[in-house]
């Protein structure tokens, strides 16, 4: 990499920034919307920073809300990049190899969202350094939260550095050297599973919360992630296909579809298994499920959400399963959006809120996010989308130039 003094990292990055920002009117409108949402989020967060988390809808009973719900879901989206990485690098699947960089970009964006959600959820964000080993105290291995910090940051590093290396090589018209990055690819495959299992263990490891204290939680996290994550990647691929000239072969959609169907069906089977356990022999430990699916003591704010989620889950699964062989972009988009939304509701606040209600003392309350909370959440989502956009755009430019051969005008003779 350093053998090319003329085009060092600085030129590389300035080219990337240039490519990130180039685009038509629609692209600038899209950017403006994202920036406006981020601005609103920053404004709302400023308010939360001054007043405290009291401006959210959370309470001593529902002590985690929209932030942690979204965090949990987007860990799954990040983990799902492995569904592209595995076939692309391990089985040398050509179609997946074309788009694996997009999966990695989505993973990095999702991780940025996760870390931001954790940060905005903290009561003392300025004290994060208390967790840094050396200057702080890191309660590892006892606290699962410390494991989560390790695996999320590690996964972020893996998913940033491997693509960065490959793109940097391609930028110079070189082929990346296998032994330099393949070990990290293997590592990231195991790591992807670990980020989601560890995040599930955060909840699964709490006997205080019977709704979470369930050995199926981790596996089900994975199944739903491997359905929702590829659905997100499919949405991004469709957007790229429709709005750029980057060639995306239709076979990739069929391959993704197959992954999604298998994962979504496993997810539904596990959901059914959980519902059976909760309601066939209704115990005290089933009260959270009762609250989620049917309402408890007159509190039923989650009921319409969870049934919408289940409806969307089934709809999305069926749409993917019975897709006509020549299904168009809009058909797949509808299927992906419904499956994504269904799992987002179910694995987000459909999982977090009922774990906290009823409280360990049997008290039932409803939770509704405040408008500030929603603004902050939207701001974080916009920030993540911006990251994804700014990663994928230059990556696609570099890749298509590389594929055109080593005859790019700026290439200095490699």
């Amino acid at each position: 990499m350093t053998s090319n003094p003329k085009k060092g990292l600085i030129v590389f990055f300035s080219d990337c920034i240039r490519w990130s920002l180039s685009g038509g009117v629609v692209f600038y409108i899209y950017l403006a919307v994202l920036l406006a949402l981020m601005g609103a989020g920053i404004y709302a967060y400023g308010h939360q920073f001054r007043e405290g988390l009291i401006i959210t809808g959370m309470s001593n009973i529902v002590s985690w809300g929209l932030y942690i719900s979204n965090f949990t879901f987007f860990v799954g989206v990040a983990a799902a990049a492995v569904m592209l990485i595995l076939p692309a690098y391990l089985y040398k699947d050509k179609d997946f190899h074309e788009v694996v960089i997009i999966g990695e970009g989505v993973a990095v964006g999702a991780l940025v969202m996760c870390l931001l959600f954790i940060t905005v959820d903290m009561g003392g964000p300025l004290k994060v350094w208390h967790m840094i080993p050396g200057i702080g105290l890191f309660n590892w291995p006892s606290s699962i939260l410390t494991w989560d910090v390790l695996v999320l940051n590690g996964y972020l590093a893996l998913n940033s550095l491997v693509p960065l290396y490959i793109l940097y090589c391609n930028y110079h018209g070189r082929k990346p050297v296998g032994w330099k990055y393949m070990p990290f690819v293997f590592l990231s495959i195991f790591w992807a599973v670990s980020i989601h299992m560890v995040t599930a263990f955060l909840y699964q490891g709490l006997p205080a919360r019977p709704f979470w204290n369930n050995p199926l939680l981790g596996p089900r996290f994975l199944a739903s992630a491997f359905a929702a994550g590829p659905a997100v990647i499919m949405m991004v691929l469709i957007a790229i296909k429709e709005s750029t000239k980057y060639p995306i072969d239709t076979t990739i959609f069929f391959k993704l579809k197959r992954i999604i169907v298998v994962a979504a069906v496993i997810n539904l089977v596990m959901l059914f298994s959980e519902v059976f356990k909760e309601f066939y022999t209704f115990t005290h430990h089933s009260l959270s499920a009762q609250y989620l699916f049917f309402g408890l003591e007159g509190h039923d704010s989650l009921v319409p959400w969870i049934w919408t989620a289940i409806g969307l889950n089934i709809l999305g699964t069926l749409l993917f399963a019975f897709a006509p062989t020549k299904s168009g972009s809009s058909y797949l988009m509808v299927a992906a959006v419904s499956l994504f939304t269904g799992i987002w509701i179910e694995k987000g606040f459909g999982l977090i809120i009922p774990g906290l209600v009823p409280s360990p003392m049997g008290e039932v309350v409803d939770y509704a996010p405040s408008s500030f909370e929603i603004l902050i959440t939207l701001g974080v989502l916009a920030a993540g989308m911006l990251v994804v956009t700014f990663l994928i755009k230059p990556a696609l430019v570099i890749l298509s130039r590389y594929k055109e051969g080593i005859k790019q005008p700026e290439a200095d003779g490699l």
């Binding site: 309470s59 208390h130 360990p360 049997g362």
Partner: protein, 320 residues
């Protein structure tokens, strides 16, 4: 602010300050005080001198270590800073203790469900003693009104608001149970909460990052979070404080019952035990064979809440 100029004029008025502030911070503050004018100075204690002194104190406070890693000198220094900050902020002379656990003491608690009549004097005493937030009406103790035939407080009514006692009802108090095997301690990512040698589970408020994982982990709902800045009227602040106990908290940190560490380490009873008009609450040293708590454990039929979770609480219920 206008530094340097007009240094001489208000010096006279600033004079008496020397008693309250250290000489160094006084000199540093003079120029600021000069610009701020005299009115605030005379009435408001350190006045604007405070702003720079307060900032310095807060800066030092921000970078201090976890309480358990501090040397005795560092503990004394932070306590001195906290006392100074309280003086600047509330104009109160608080005493923040950093008294260590007593030797050969392990605290235990027992609750007589036959005697308790649900008067809630314990709750009130706890709020006063521990400087609990009046705005959000934070309470460490919950009393549940129970129907006969039950022994699980989760089936009771924790929000009753009527004259007590009610016939055919009995009452169960719940608070932090100071578990030997506490799930909250295991959960904390920064070791900001731990069990002291005398069995009290405490929080280092300065070290807590406010992630609320301990709250999710507690099977007894024993922890309270400061969603906003807690409000305690100045005249109601209990000035006898402990670093790990009832000193003033702020937004974004976790807090909980500490068995009134500021009292119990001085050989006193927790405020709730003191306040109980029916004598339902028994507190004492589990290592002392002659203590009342040992008598209860030996001679009464006792049980613990959610024992199946293996948290090993040091809080027992018993009946006469």
């Amino acid at each position: 602010m206008d530094h340097g100029k007009k240094k001489n004029a208000p010096l006279k008025k600033a004079g008496p300050l020397e008693n309250k502030c250290t000489r160094r911070s006084f000199l540093k503050g003079v120029s600021i005080a000069a610009a701020a004018g005299s009115a605030g100075l005379v009435t408001g204690g350190c006045g604007s001198v405070a702003s720079s002194e307060e900032a310095k104190l807060k800066w030092d406070e921000f970078f201090k270590k976890n309480y358990r890693l501090m040397t005795q000198e560092e503990k004394d220094a932070t306590v001195a800073r906290l006392e100074k900050l309280a003086k600047l902020r509330y104009g109160l002379d608080v005493q923040v203790s950093n008294q260590e656990p007593l030797d050969n003491v392990l605290y235990g608690y027992a609750f007589n469900i036959t005697r308790c009549k649900g008067y809630m004097d314990c709750v009130e005493a706890c709020v006063q003693e521990n400087n609990l937030d009046r705005q959000s009406k934070t309470q460490y103790i919950r009393i549940f009104e129970m129907d006969s035939g039950q022994l699980d407080p989760t089936s009771g009514d924790g929000k009753y608001f009527h004259e007590v006692p009610v016939e055919d009802k009995f009452y169960m108090g719940v608070q932090c149970f100071h578990c030997e095997n506490a799930p909250c301690i295991k959960a904390c990512p920064t070791k900001a909460t731990w069990q002291e040698p005398d069995g009290i589970v405490v929080v280092d408020y300065d070290w807590c990052i406010g992630c609320r994982y301990c709250m999710a982990a507690c099977p007894y709902w024993g922890r309270r979070f400061n969603w906003g800045d807690p409000v305690v009227p100045k005249e109601e602040i209990n000035t006898k404080q402990h670093y790990l106990g009832n000193r003033m908290r702020w937004k974004g940190v976790m807090e909980k019952c500490t068995f009134c560490v500021q009292r119990t380490r001085q050989g006193k009873l927790p405020a709730c035990v003191d306040a109980c008009p029916t004598g339902s609450r028994v507190f004492g040293n589990l290592l002392d064979p002659d203590s009342e708590i040992r008598f209860v454990l030996k001679n009464k039929k006792v049980f613990r809440f959610k024992e199946e979770l293996n948290t090993d609480p040091k809080f027992w219920y018993f009946m006469d």
